[in-house]
């Protein structure tokens, strides 16, 4: 209690983009639960019983991070949407070159701060201003928004001071904090792992883009190495038969989805240039809701690697790793987004 006069948190950075990027990745609901610790922030968004998304935001994204542990856990609920609006108030926290709306399974996709920003009204008279707006919205601009975040403690607002250059305007935001809703946050049990793989985000992201937008189910399928060769397809070419043989030999991961106009299947053989790691004991196949998968797309933006794990029960955990910042110690990270969801019931 000796620290009770000090604010629980003071965090400063001179570029809010990495912070905003992580938050935007889990932007699937208006409200989020933020937990502060010595390690940084853990921001959790939960869609009741179906999907849980957590942004692990390490302290190394901040130039300074002072945490004074209070007597009660430093956890509160706030409007994630509003927080992102605040961070992007000068237009410098937006995602660069975001292909908004083009995401896989675009249903129910909402706009978030800085994502394909369009002024209100959106009338024809705005169209000609797009070029000017892009200048401010693009991540490539020289202007950076700096931030100082402070939280005095339980019952106080989260206050954020933002400015983009010394002579420019400053913005102060006071975000209302609420008592957090109880989280399910089912834990992934590493002892129950049926599939564990690490691959480049790009590969996975391209796959999500290719999935038919009309599909509702996405099936993940993994076969371990040394599986029996699939039956010879009479109409297949020699090279595709060879490919099948090779994949059966090394093991493969595939994503399947059926839409109104047919079936899409994307195969990833367990080759060195594809998989960084591929642990699979026996054949695994589980299906997930495609609208939940579509949410991964935004999270994958600008990430480098994903780690995908499935429990024997079908419980899926996808961890998305952001590129390492400068001076991050070995074993550290510059932000991880974690998505967990349960498998759908098997179809007849």
């Amino acid at each position: 209690m000796a620290n009770s006069d000090l604010p629980v948190l003071i965090a400063e950075t001179n570029d809010v983009r990495p912070f905003a990027r992580l938050l935007r990745g889990i932007g699937l609901k208006h409200n989020a639960v933020m937990e502060i610790s010595e390690a940084g922030f853990a921001v959790t968004v939960e869609e009741v019983r179906t999907l849980c998304a957590i942004a692990w935001i390490p302290t190394n994204l901040f130039t300074s991070f002072t945490y004074n542990p209070p007597s009660t856990p430093a956890t509160f609920e706030l409007s994630l949407d509003a927080l992102l609006q605040c961070l992007n108030i000068f237009g410098n926290a937006g995602s660069s070159a975001m292909s908004s709306g083009a995401g896989g399974g675009g249903r129910g996709k909402r706009r978030w701060a800085g994502e394909g920003e369009v002024g209100p009204g959106g009338g024809g008279d705005d169209v000609e201003d797009v070029g000017e707006r892009r200048r401010g919205g693009g991540g490539g601009g020289e202007k950076r928004t700096g931030m100082r975040m402070e939280w005095k403690g339980l019952g106080y607002d989260l206050s954020i001071l933002l400015s983009d250059d010394a002579r420019g305007p400053t913005t102060t935001c006071n975000l209302k904090t609420l008592e957090p809703e109880e989280l399910m946050n089912a834990q992934f049990d590493p002892d129950q792992t049926a599939l564990y793989l690490i691959m480049k985000s790009e590969w996975f992201r391209d796959a999500l883009l290719d999935l038919p937008p009309s599909s509702t189910r996405i099936t993940l399928l993994a076969t371990p190495p040394k599986e029996s060769v699939p039956p010879h397809q009479p109409d297949a070419t020699i090279s595709s038969n060879g490919r099948h043989r090779h994949r059966a030999e090394v093991g493969q991961f595939s994503i399947q989805s059926e839409g109104d106009f047919g079936m899409t299947e994307l195969d990833y053989p367990n080759d060195k240039e594809v998989m960084d790691k591929f642990d699979c004991e026996k054949r695994v196949s589980f299906s997930y809701h495609s609208s939940h998968f579509a949410l991964l797309h935004r999270a994958l933006h600008q990430s480098v690697k994903i780690c995908l794990q499935i429990e024997h029960s079908g419980f899926l955990c996808v961890q998305i790793m952001m590129p390492l910042g400068e001076g991050v110690p070995v074993g550290g990270h510059s932000g991880i987004l974690e998505f967990k969801m349960h498998a759908l019931e098997e179809e007849d």
Binding site: L78, S79, D81, A82, L83, Q85, C86, N88, I89, F90, G91, A113, E117, G119, P120, G121, G123, D125, E132, R133, G136, D157, R167, G168, P169, T170, T171, T172, C173, N174, L175, K176
Partner: protein
């Protein structure tokens, strides 16, 4: 009633029309010997924002001739949509559009002549665009848009809104940057409270159930007050004067960033905000667009 002129600054007229089109579907234009007034009265605009602007004739026109029975003034009303279509074509023909290749079928190096004509009983504005085709052949295109001549009675009904003496004047930051910021504020709330003091501080605050947000500028210029102000007792320099306005209304005014980057705002506390957008340099201004943005009454908590 005669009116004929060459439009020397098509680009500027185009920008003015675009700014006005953000506010209303039609606008009133009062042509006099010295000045052109663009008027969007309150009943025309959805947000209650009004425009009463005056532009000196030489800023826009050349070879300007006007004659009428009413002190050589003509008042007319027209649809901004049709005006915009003509000006877009004229603007690209004059070649002031930078992006070449945007409209290869348009003429180039054109002159634009504007005449008031009559087609049967319908008064029209005829824009004659005379220029060269891509193969350097001379060609002229005439656009005609319907206008309505305002009767003296209707003219008298159009009155500039009466406002109390403004509490404060302040030079706004760059209008484009301000517009971008305000459009982001519009995602947070519907209304914004505009405050300023005599130390050059300007604040925009929005409040919602989720977040309170204030953006402030320091060291802006408070223009020196005009002579008639001096009798008034000057308030403490740090005292803030505020008015709450609809963000939508403020954004309509900020569309005028097209016309100019400089504007002065006055706040009549809890009444309205008036913004003067200057065309050309402040000291030798070619005209000014005046926007009246009505204040909203809010419950003081």
């Amino acid at each position: 009633m005669r009116f004929r002129t060459a439009i020397s600054n098509v680009a500027l007229l185009h920008k003015i029309a675009r700014s006005l089109a953000a506010l209303a579907r039609s606008c009133t234009i009062r042509l006099s010997e010295e000045q052109v007034h663009f008027i969007v009265p309150a009943n025309e605009s959805t947000t209650g924002v009004q425009v009463w602007s005056r532009v000196n004739v030489p800023t826009l026109f050349d070879g300007y001739k006007i004659e009428s029975n009413a002190q050589n003034e003509i008042w007319l009303e027209l649809h901004l949509d049709s005006l915009l279509k003509v000006l877009r074509s004229a603007d690209s023909s004059v070649g002031s559009f930078n992006d070449s290749g945007r409209n290869t079928s348009a003429l180039s190096d054109a002159d634009v002549i504007l005449k008031l004509n009559k087609k049967g009983a319908q008064p029209i504005w005829a824009f004659e665009i005379r220029g060269y085709t891509a193969s350097r052949k001379q060609m002229s295109i005439t656009h005609e848009i319907n206008v309505k001549i305002l009767s003296p009675k209707r003219q008298q009904e159009l009155n500039e809104p009466l406002c109390p003496q403004p509490d404060i004047h302040i030079v706004l930051p760059n209008l484009l940057e301000l517009r971008n910021l305000v459009s982001r504020l519009s995602h947070v709330a519907d209304d914004v409270r505009i405050s300023a003091n005599h130390e050059g501080t300007l604040e925009l605050s929005v409040n919602s159930s989720r977040v309170n947000l204030t953006t402030s500028w320091k060291d802006l210029v408070n223009p020196t007050s005009t002579a008639d102000d001096e009798e008034r007792v000057s308030p403490p320099s740090q005292q803030m004067f505020s008015t709450t306005v609809a963000i939508k209304g403020l954004l309509k005014f900020l569309t005028s960033h097209l016309v100019s980057g400089t504007a002065i705002m006055c706040i009549c506390e809890n009444h309205c905000v008036i913004a003067y957008v200057y065309i050309g340099e402040l000291n030798e201004t070619g005209g000014v667009l005046t926007f009246f943005i009505p204040g909203k009454t809010v419950d003081d908590e």
